[in-house]
Amino acid sequence: MTIIRTSISAFVVLAALLAASLSAHARGLTYGLQADEIADGVYVFWGLQENWNVQNGGNIVNTGFIVGDKEVLAIDTGPTKFYADEMIRVIRSITDKPIRNTVVTHHHPDHSFGLQRFKKINSRVMMHPEARAGLLRDGAALIGFMEIAMGQGWMAGTEIDKPNKSIRQSMKLDLGGRTALIMPLDGGHTPGDVIVMDQKTGTLFAGDLIFHQRAPTVPHADIPTWLDHLNTMSAMDWQRIVPGHGPLVTDRSVFNMMADYLEYLQQFAEDSVARGDTLADAMTSDVPERFHGLSTLQIEYRRSMLSLFRKIETQDFDAAAAVN
């Protein structure tokens, strides 16, 4: 009896997953991407305020493009082949200028996994060398992770590919009638972050250095450096910021919120190790109420504790080993 009931419930789950991936197929695996023109010639594809799942196919990230008189610059490539193809189709429906360059802001899969498709249309794909290394190191494992999180249907045909060009230093790109500043701001969110500023409209594409109304992800982060980068960006001459996740930023409050949350994480993890908590204690601890408005908070908080706590705990054990 027990066995039958369990296998039925497993079957129901499988059937639901299958139905969801079949309905994705029936829709031709489309995300329904719509380009939102947030400033003259600057467009954004807004992602959902959710974690990856079988319904959204990883459409949780903001990507975009800038249209100059000569050419187009794309910023980030989405989580899958299908996403990137759709992005390219929409861009082509808006302009026939070539997508000469594509900047991938960092190696996280929601930003980088569509880059193969941009290479395919002869766009030059640019990434920080550390981001390239991260993509080649973690890419295969992350594809497996995403297949589990959102179903194999969405991931079909998505392959890890290398960028064409490394961004080590700031550079300016003339798009015709407007200039994009491409600037490494690394070692904060990940070892290889890059931001893009459209100087004509003051639109800053901040990648995942800015999470707006959403809990930032820190497994590859160095929080003190990230806080420095927040100051750097805050002082830049921007009119609006497109965050990696969350809605458009038009005022400075996001900087305070992010700094508050990141400092809290760091401090809590340090205190937690110092008072001898276990990781299970830290991961199941409550988050202060002032952060409860952030989307995907619970899962990101646990993820953050896993990486931050273990890092600090390891240093603490190493120090103890010297004494014991």
């Binding site: 497996g144 001898g276 276990t278 299970a280 080993a321």
Partner: protein, 257 residues
């Protein structure tokens, strides 16, 4: 009227079932493997699911080679002779056993999970009854037992077997001992990039003692995560501590203070 009675009956049934799940012999996780686990690892002895033993762990697991588990043992258990930690769907289901020599309120460990599974902590009291607490672990990144351990510092020759520990006075009046031992804890299921099988190699026994005598003995399997960390809460931990460990190759490690 009839339908209202029916509703009451249905509520009664639901309440009854909930109560049985809270303390009884019915597996709250309804797992087909439980009977086998019960026979193999709890010797088929009487076992009750109650809340004297609780498993504290994150429910969604993203790093299946480092899953933190804390087992809380209620003082109401009285004398506990043995604690077993079982991850049912693991290729190595029995993760560890602990034999306390004094009252222990919490036992923390980090483990590997191959796939989503019920995680059971069972404490055998002096009357021979196992008290079982369960948690369902939803593993988002399977393969914790078959993944090669690239991110461990373990096996870095010179540090193999290095034991470090700290003690803490906790808010609840107990003392906490937290220890780490550098060890690869190879399961035997992982392969090198060249495709060669990496043989099983793990810490299999740890003895903890202070000046007042033994605190607890641990018997560990390779389902314990690399560079294991163990945490024990007990009252009146003496400042002088002695930790001895032995691995499956017969190497012995020790540290003391």
């Amino acid at each position: 009227m009839k339908s209202i009675l029916g509703l009451f009956a249905a509520i009664g049934l639901v309440l009854g079932m909930t109560q049985m799940a809270a303390a009884g012999s019915i597996d709250p996780n309804d797992s087909p493997l439980w009977q086998t686990m019960h026979q193999d690892f709890l010797y088929g002895d009487e076992a009750v699911f109650d809340d004297l033993v609780t498993v504290v762990m994150p429910v969604d697991i993203e790093n299946s080679t480092d899953v933190p588990v804390a087992i809380r043992l209620s003082p109401d258990l009285g004398e506990v002779e043995e604690v077993a930690l079982i991850a049912e769907n693991n290729p190595i289901p029995l993760v560890a056993r602990m034999y306390p020599h004094r009252q222990i309120n919490m036992f923390g460990i980090k483990i590997r999970l191959e796939m989503s599974t019920p995680v059971r902590a069972a404490a055998r009291t002096a009357d021979g009854v196992w008290h079982v607490g369960s948690e369902w672990a939803n593993v988002l990144t399977p393969g914790g037992c078959s993944a090669p351990i690239e991110f461990s510092e373990a096996g870095a020759g010179a540090r193999l077997g290095e034991i470090s520990f700290r003690t803490y006075a906790r808010d609840d009046g107990t003392d906490r001992l937290k220890m780490r031992i550098i060890h690869p804890m190879e399961t035997g299921f992982a392969f090198t990039p060249e495709g060669d099988e990496i043989p099983a190699y793990f810490v299999e026994r740890i003895e903890l003692a202070d000046e007042n005598g033994p605190i607890a003995d641990l018997v560990t399997n390779a389902a314990v995560a690399p560079d294991p960390i163990f945490t024990i809460d007990t009252a009146g931990l003496n400042q002088s501590l002695q930790i001895n460990a032995r691995d499956s190759e017969g190497l012995q490690f020790e540290t003391f203070r």
